[in-house]
Symmetry: D2
Subunit: 344 residues, 4 copies
Amino acid sequence: MIRFECDYAEGANPKILENLISTNLEQHVGYSKDSHCENARHLIKQICKNDNIDVHFMVGGTIANLTVISSILAPYQGVISADTGHINTHETGAIEATGHKVLTIPSSNGKLETAKVLEMLETHANDTNAEHCVQPGMVYISHPTECGTTYTKAELTALYEICQKYNIPLFIDGARLGYALVSENNDLSLQDITNLSDVFYIGATKIGALFGEAVVITNDKYKKNFRYMMKQKGGLLAKGRFLGIQFETLFENGENGLYFEMANHAVGLAMKIRKACEEKGYKMLFDSKTNQQFPILPKEKIANLHEKFAFYEWLAVDANNSAVRFCTSWATSQEQVDELIKNL
Amino acid sequence: MIRFECDYAEGANPKILENLISTNLEQHVGYSKDSHCENARHLIKQICKNDNIDVHFMVGGTIANLTVISSILAPYQGVISADTGHINTHETGAIEATGHKVLTIPSSNGKLETAKVLEMLETHANDTNAEHCVQPGMVYISHPTECGTTYTKAELTALYEICQKYNIPLFIDGARLGYALVSENNDLSLQDITNLSDVFYIGATKIGALFGEAVVITNDKYKKNFRYMMKQKGGLLAKGRFLGIQFETLFENGENGLYFEMANHAVGLAMKIRKACEEKGYKMLFDSKTNQQFPILPKEKIANLHEKFAFYEWLAVDANNSAVRFCTSWATSQEQVDELIKNL
Amino acid sequence: MIRFECDYAEGANPKILENLISTNLEQHVGYSKDSHCENARHLIKQICKNDNIDVHFMVGGTIANLTVISSILAPYQGVISADTGHINTHETGAIEATGHKVLTIPSSNGKLETAKVLEMLETHANDTNAEHCVQPGMVYISHPTECGTTYTKAELTALYEICQKYNIPLFIDGARLGYALVSENNDLSLQDITNLSDVFYIGATKIGALFGEAVVITNDKYKKNFRYMMKQKGGLLAKGRFLGIQFETLFENGENGLYFEMANHAVGLAMKIRKACEEKGYKMLFDSKTNQQFPILPKEKIANLHEKFAFYEWLAVDANNSAVRFCTSWATSQEQVDELIKNL
Amino acid sequence: MIRFECDYAEGANPKILENLISTNLEQHVGYSKDSHCENARHLIKQICKNDNIDVHFMVGGTIANLTVISSILAPYQGVISADTGHINTHETGAIEATGHKVLTIPSSNGKLETAKVLEMLETHANDTNAEHCVQPGMVYISHPTECGTTYTKAELTALYEICQKYNIPLFIDGARLGYALVSENNDLSLQDITNLSDVFYIGATKIGALFGEAVVITNDKYKKNFRYMMKQKGGLLAKGRFLGIQFETLFENGENGLYFEMANHAVGLAMKIRKACEEKGYKMLFDSKTNQQFPILPKEKIANLHEKFAFYEWLAVDANNSAVRFCTSWATSQEQVDELIKNL
């Protein structure tokens, strides 16, 4: 069985494990106050080309999302998200459990449309009985989205400007950020992301680490006391060094470093799958240029593929065809992809 | 500088790292549904001598505490704890953030006295206006306590019987459980802990792992849907395999395994420190037989020691003397302890 | 200006005020443990034809909703509601503030369709990764709905049977329950409501009282310790007598009593408005047979009406027409309605 | 049976009921946006001699406390209170249910000592691992306290200055504020209270109203969006006029108005009880000059009194004596007090 189910089926990049071993007997203070975390913060500031950001390391995406969102919203505020957003669908109500409503906007491709966000913000601002409704207090997007799609620089700029106008923060869930940064036609650098958001995170769990998300707070207003929130939510790792060492490994060579190398590898293979699908006449459910591909296949074809390959069925498109998801990672091999393509 | 500050200053036991490497390219499903987690669960059932327990793996103590407690309490219930309890003092209000009061009972040595728990439960049960007060809904202890002290089998039995009588669960925070299990005169086996509690956890973050706490639910009533809670709180690790592999490594040789070996090592060295202190005429603040020792030292002595050693000052006992804490771990060496003793 | 804006523009029925005065110097214990509350509970049991229900008095609808819902749901559960439901739209996130997601189902007329509820419950039950999603833990409807529409006995029975099958409670928000109970072709008695729900409330704030909702818990499973929840949420009125006296007044003559008399009065006038609208050729946005009517009027007509009458514009139907809402109450007079009809 | 159990045993002052009746058929917008609320706000600004305050009307003390506190604290902050404080003992964990810890300071007479507050604030400010602890974010006192005691102007000033220094708000629970304002030797006016706090409330439930607390926000920082919080917590009364009318009635004659008249009446009678007790040689548990008196009586005397009088036993002082509480209100008569004194 060859697995294209997700991008976290294997362990961690061996380089990371090597560095854990070589530093293992060093003595460090806990809770990410150690020198590896300090260095990793420095490297992330360099690659974001911004010294005035706060960087915090957390173990996973759900706890990063709930900690960031609940640290910013007032009790009567909610967070705007595409209805397909991870926080709305696959986190078991983590945001609501901190007291906040997710204010959803329908989306057909995972992306949040600026016009619809604007409409929601305007409607609330003009409501004379606004206090009977949840106040929109933040915009959440993920880049790439759950559908593998990405924002252009123009789109992100437009969204951020709306947020600025209404004085609410834009938070970017970057669980798979690397895959967007290396994708075809991408025009958004990490520096742009830093400039066009208030908080975002650089995900590593799904890009070759054991675990870890680097939360970057760019807006001064949201920096203060974030560590209190991390501790309260159970997100301050005792042996924080393990987060520092991983992010050091990922970013020690900057834009030529391991993080981008692994993302490139995975996206390159994913695009080969996409191209093969399209050549065989299959349509794609979403226009993804990242490591997740969603071809629409005949049901018999899907049944055949399941004999050799593990992957998700995403959506029944009609009586005879369904969209599936193929996911690649740092550990996917050219041979595995060739085998898949041969069987398509 | 030799560090006796805490038991998580170093990385992980090398055996654990080796096993991470040897399994690294295996493909596994996420979220602790993989075969390593399954095997680790099996090993823990064996060592607890109980097949009818549920075992869940979480990353750290705070998130284990808040997830367990909020999964069990009704909204109007609180958790009884010694005022020195970790959940009351050093978790930034993690329990209250889930909506529940910590009902405190004063303690001089970290232990919860059965008589005082009984009094609190009786007072509430007899209050005709009880609904104006938080209802005690659970008892929380840690074993060993924050003060390094431990419960005897008789004490734990008495406490558990009170809980049974009032139909509320007993939850044991075992962040340092191994150190208690190997301590001098200990008469509580892991099997006893299993029989005399409703939920407990076996801590590994502070006993040689990268991270990890194995939550054991012994009471059927609290088993259902615990994974929903783990996910909601951000405590379900994507690459759950890393938890499974660690606990496999710790328990693959049962009672002769790595977990107990490391605990023994640390406690043996701690007791040497204690003995040396007592021989030099220093009193101990708490009667700890585990890996934390709290001698009361003259302030000049403390100042001298700080030149070579890192450790916490715990409490100013009088104008001239303070209690300090020396903590040993799997990585502490005989030489380091000898050097400390020489300087006492 | 004649007001058709809402059903709580005036004070309380004079009979209620008289009873407040005549009982004013009686001394009573607080918190609804007094004899008037006891009697009111008895009267409500009689009219529900069920002695095995618990009755609690609360001040308003939002606090009744949030207290009931948070008293029942497990932390990882959400409540299913029509997207138009009051808890989803006009309570400022009160439910989310207690930690629970509102799981919405689109509705065109305010009613929740059984088939869609069933689909949501089945989908979750069959999801092998269900723990990543909020578990549906309750169904919330209001009767009448926000759109003035009502459920038939067959519809409510079908919905309740689905809830029974999936072992989750059905909660009926009855803020305007009386108006449904007296509506044309209604086939649901208070006894039916009692039999076909787990919790519901009889609203009086919007039917002639100063304030007050009588929460009726019919399912034994949800009765215990509800008063703790009321106190914690700030919903246990100190001078609870004022709730008891009001509900005594409303129900002392059973089915011929003041509550039904006022509801009848308001609905009768509302239906006159509806009939007049239809005779003039205006369409109704919703098929309401209760005290709220939603005719679709030309915009100039609406502008004209605003000179003499206060009412809400509900929805722009097209460029030239909007639906408006006319609301009647116990205090609306035949003359006021005639004047409105004359101007339509 | 003559009742001295509490100050809310009777209904409301008849003047209030008269005004409810005379205004009953007026049509008003809901949610305290009506002209009576507007006028009541104006009257309260006048009597506080401050035009720059926000005034909101809520139904009861618990919901006022939880709404104010949760509207101000950051998620990682707690509220400092005497351990005897109402929010810590008799609100079923209402504050914790909003996510915040009550940080308690021991008190022997219900009052919070400035020195101890200062110590708590300093300790946290100097803690290098402060983020592991709940951050003190507010000071809560009640005036008078649960023990009937009151703060002097010097004491309140000292406490407020500490709060100012540490940049945290002082919140005064004034459920029985009137009784303090009219008490012997009182040197704190309503204007002083306004100047020496950030938020406080003027309680009326326990001083002659049907219900109602007027929340006064004096610090601009905490004014914005408070109505969102009121709505979310279920504390925005639909027929808000009933709050407005009551507070109009209480304050329409300013310092000579009904509120102070009723408070004076109750405190005068309470002091007669105190004087009689002292003349008979009974000691008082607390030095209360307000409407609650706590004499220490022999147990046989208490048993005798229970035949004719209802009152609380507060505390067993020794084997033979207990402190009891006698409470007077606007409705207590001179004859009832004479009868009590005769039997002491």
